[in-house]
């Protein structure tokens, strides 16, 4: 999720400090409304952020473990195998992100490999994980 929560908090304070009221009531009202919304979403992200990343990293690693043996490209297979055995060093969001970005890059390469080889079953498995990823990261506006 970019921008990260810390960035949003910092820039929201900066925006407020700029004196948005000087721009006129209608604009200030709109800006405050949006600030309120992104701060509210930030609170939700603070609550669920680590859980989302840990779950996603676990599912991608499991997928790699499942599909690596059938990948013909030996270099990719080795990277998938290694990544499937990796773990998140800490529960800090920055550490989880670093691991997640590596896994997502490798996931893209795995999908490309499956597309190029016409490996339909592998593609279906990958899309099941991608669909779950997208659903889990969907930002809900309600309470």
């Amino acid at each position: 999720m970019r921008p990260e929560v810390g960035t949003i908090l910092g820039l929201s304070v900066q925006k407020l400090a700029m004196g948005i009221g000087q721009e006129g009531a209608a604009f200030a009202q709109g800006t405050v409304g949006l600030l309120s919304m992104v701060l509210s979403l930030s609170a939700k992200e603070y609550e669920r952020g680590a859980d989302i990343r840990v779950t996603e990293n676990r599912e991608i690693r499991a997928l790699f473990a499942e599909l690596a043996p059938s990948v013909e490209d030996s270099k990719l297979r080795a990277e998938l195998t290694e990544a499937s055995a990796s773990s998140d060093p800490t529960l800090r969001i920055s550490d989880l992100n670093a691991a997640n970005y590596k896994l997502r890059r490798l996931l893209t390469r795995l999908l490309i490999d499956a597309e190029e080889h016409g490996a339909l079953d592998a593609q279906k498995r990958i899309w099941a994980v991608l669909n779950a990823l997208a659903e889990r990261r969907l930002v809900q506006l309600g309470p």
Binding site: M1, R2, P3, E4, T7, I8, L11, S12, Q14, K15, Q22, E23, G24, A25, A26, F27, Q29, G30, T31, L34, L35, M37, V38, L41, E45, N97, Y101, R104, R105, L107, T108, L111, I112, E115, L120, Q123, K124, W127, A128, L130, N131, L133, A134, E135, R137, L138, V139, L141
Partner: protein
């Protein structure tokens, strides 16, 4: 604000040949995230008759949500206003920075209207049917217009019916390549799918509005569409590009059967076909619908970068990078998975 008011008055006194012109009620208003938008009144005398005009100033910001070409936007307003479509009358365009520090243009304000909210389940309330019929009819008329006849055939975009799709994919892939802050496996998969499965050639090359959707037009209390806004992404391309963007699930998507919170999809397509004289070929439209969500994702990725790097800290950019991108990622994942029966 006083300094801007003074400079604006100086500029308009010359532009409108009205030495007594004064500016009143200058206020910035929300909306149009890629330009600063102000409402004001210009009061002056014309042949002895007092004039009180409600006007809108659209000025370039320091950094923009999307890099757009301001003269193209102004010329689109001008061309479609002259064609008789509900488009605000353009008044003046300045590409230099002398008058108001940054380039800007001025147009007539269409008063006593509202826009529909993209997150509202019922953005047009009891007028949804009436608004929807006009919405797709006007879009059909935009598609029907001959770019050469309305003086916009030099616009950026596709040059032939065969390159409309590839031109747009290349355009937005470049944005993603430049602005991606984190790996986007779904967006990248969408790009590959779009390239592997090109749509049929466009039926014609038309002026594509580029952001024709719920929230980008003004409606009066009677449900009459009075002004199509935000032509800043207008370009030459496939007429189906606008249609697919208009029915994208992000816009008031509470009920997928009524895209944009207006009329039923089948009726929308029929009205568009009648007004444009073109076909909403299902296979081609399907490609453009996936493209629409990819284009949206590219815009939101770009917005997140603008925000994170501090070039534009309007909270709408943070919201776009989170909410809008998460919706388009899900839409793309569902549609692309369905392509292989997953």
């Amino acid at each position: 604000m006083n300094e801007l008011e003074d400079k604006l008055a100086l500029y308009l006194r010359v532009k409108l040949a009205a030495p007594d012109l004064t500016i009143a009620n200058l206020a910035r208003i929300p909306g149009g995230a890629s330009r600063e938008t102000y409402r004001f009144r210009a009061c002056y005398a014309e042949r002895g008759k007092p004039i009180d005009r409600a006007l809108i100033l659209r000025r370039d910001p320091v950094a923009s949500l999307i890099e757009t070409e301001r003269s193209a936007e102004y010329r689109a307003y001008d061309a479609f206003h002259k064609l008789g479509l509900p488009v605000p009358e353009p008044i003046a365009l300045e590409l230099g920075s002398e008058a108001l520090e940054r380039p800007f243009f001025i147009m007539a304000e269409v008063e006593n209207c509202t826009t529909g909210g993209i997150m509202s389940p019922e953005p047009y309330g009891p007028h949804r049917e009436r608004v929807g019929r006009q919405f797709y009819s006007v879009l059909g008329k935009i598609a029907a217009a001959d770019p050469k006849a309305i003086g916009l055939d030099d616009f950026d975009g596709a040059k032939t019916v065969r390159d409309a799709a590839s031109h747009e994919v290349a355009r937005w892939e470049k944005v993603i390549d430049e602005d991606e802050l984190e790996p986007q496996p779904i967006v990248r998969a969408a790009l590959r799918w779009l390239k592997r499965n090109p749509p049929p050639p466009a039926q014609k090359i038309c002026v594509v509005h580029g952001d024709y959707r719920t929230g980008n037009f003004l409606v009066d209390d009677n449900g009459e569409i009075r002004a199509i806004l935000d032509w800043e992404m207008s370009h030459l391309g496939d007429p189906l590009e606008d249609l697919a963007w208009a029915i994208d699930p992000l816009w008031a998507g509470a009920d997928p059967a009524r895209p944009g919170g207006m009329i039923a999809r089948a009726e929308a397509l029929r009205i568009w076909e009648n007004a444009s004289g073109l076909q909403a070929d299902p296979k081609a439209l399907h490609w453009w619908e996936i493209f629409a969500s990819l284009k949206g994702a590219a815009i939101w990725i770009s917005a997140a970068r603008e925000y994170e790097e501090g070039r534009n800290i309007d909270p709408v950019n943070a919201f776009s990078g989170w909410y809008c991108l998460s919706v388009h990622n899900r839409v793309l994942a569902e549609r692309l998975a369905a392509e292989i029966g997953a």
